[in-house]
């Protein structure tokens, strides 16, 4: 059984307290709103892609639990500079990590702090909300729900 210290690792607590890229992007090329109607979490993700389709800037704002906020913060750091395809592939690997389907040899760097989430099935949607929203922003869907 994962302990609370394994779920709430220092990096998660730090990004919860001081989320990175917590702002809007006025000249964004993509934006989407993510909602978890069951618990009331909501966040916005903005993305700015350059002419080659690379994610030049990405940001978020919103309210939610430590898992969802830290995940959004670390998501923005992880996908910045990536192409659309690379970002979506990373989402796949992240999703495998938090649902306990990741292979041992796959390391996701900082994102590995979310490995404890796999033992808390009701919190998986907290960790993945910002990623679903990022994907929607890339695809220019207006709202996305994790329910």
């Amino acid at each position: 059984m994962a302990t609370m210290n394994e779920l709430y690792q220092n990096m998660i607590l730090d990004h919860n307290r001081t989320p990175r890229n917590f702002r809007q992007i006025p000249d964004a090329t993509g934006h989407a709103e993510g909602r978890n109607p069951l618990c009331g979490d909501q966040l916005d993700v903005w993305i700015k892609q350059d002419s080659a389709g690379r994610i030049e800037d990405v940001s978020f704002e919103g309210s939610g639990c430590a898992i969802s906020k830290a995940s959004a913060s670390l998501m923005t750091q992880a996908v910045k500079g990536k192409t659309r395809g690379e970002a979506l592939a990373l989402f796949e690997r992240f999703h495998a990590l938090v649902t306990g389907r990741a292979k041992d040899q796959e390391k996701l760097g900082k994102l590995d702090v979310f490995s404890g989430v796999a033992e808390f099935p009701v919190r998986v949607k907290c960790a993945s909300l910002s990623w679903h929203t990022m994907k929607a922003a890339l695809e220019q869907e207006q709202t996305v729900s994790t329910e």
Partner: protein, 419 residues
Amino acid sequence: MPAIRRAAEPPSRQATGMLDVRADFPILATRRHGKPLVYLDSAATSQKPVAVLEAERLFYESTNANIHRGVYHLSAEATRLYDEARERLARYLGAEYPHEVIFTRGTTESINLVAQSWGRANLSPGDEILLTELEHHSNIVPWQLVAEPTGAVVKAAPVTDRGELDLDGFRKLLTARTRVVAIGHVSNALGTVNPVREVADLAHGVGAVVVVDGAQSAPHLPVDVRALGADFFACSSHKMLGPTGMGVLYGRTELLDAMPPWMGGGDMIDQVTFERTTFAPLPAKFEAGTPNIAGAIGFGAAAEYILGIGREAITAHEHALLEYATAAVADVPGLRVVGTAEQKASVLSFVMDGIHPHDIGTILDDDNVCIRAGHHCAQPLMRRLGVPATARASFALYNNEADADTLVKALHRARELFG
């Protein structure tokens, strides 16, 4: 039809002091990873005493048959038990007649029944449905659903920062166009006890009908629908120690009699031809199809169990516990109680600086402490109070001071973890 005898409640097991009924609830003896269950989510659903579990089991083991149909003994006995459950609920709520108690799937269905049956028959364009900002979604959305096709307008009376109904604000919104006042007796999110009698008198003064959402009051307070001035009163079995999937709608006879059926089917008819169908009298008119017979019997057993302990004793026990817990959580750094109404039932809603309620819920679960975290199906209220969500501990007759102590210890642990 015979009127219900208004029996005085039997003397409580303990007139003063704390109740001790924990042995009646088998789930309280369970452990998770060696830690005893501290169940503080009774506002979401209550635990079940042996009396209820046995009533359902006995029915299935020895009396199971469909009701109102068979000429054989077993069916007659099942029918008798089902009718007896209705009489028990009628007595519990203070209804004048058993036929004023309609079995439903729960509070939500009960309110939808009123909105769809009474509402569609009586609401016209421009008519007003007055709610309060304290309402659960189940006392908001059914009214929106009937407002749309009838052209009626939904309004909400304001609440104060303490989470009390603003009676002056309510009076201002009450007009000659107000046809319905729908109000929760006790707020599920904050525990506020609304002044229903006062609201009902005001509502009746403009000719409105009063619909009371009693989901959170029926388990905790002595409820008397006539003393409350309720034209309709809805509550759920599962929140008052009974099985899930059951509830009742109380309605005054003259209102229910005039209302069209809501659902059609077996058991609710008088004569059926392809040209025209006439309907059964109350309560069958509103109970199409084979009902949840065992559920009704279990619900009746729950009502009897509660009356056997005494609702005054339960109210006193829970009030003492709420005061104890409210004082104890004040020592947790950065914790703020949300909802500080003068009249409160056993709900303690709170937020903590820098820790989201969901994280509080997860950390408490590690100590096998079960609380609710979220918007409590009351998003307009959360917006009004300026919080995205709260953590909510709610108490029942089977909780004790040790439960509150474990809660507070776990909250300190959450504080330490998050800094």
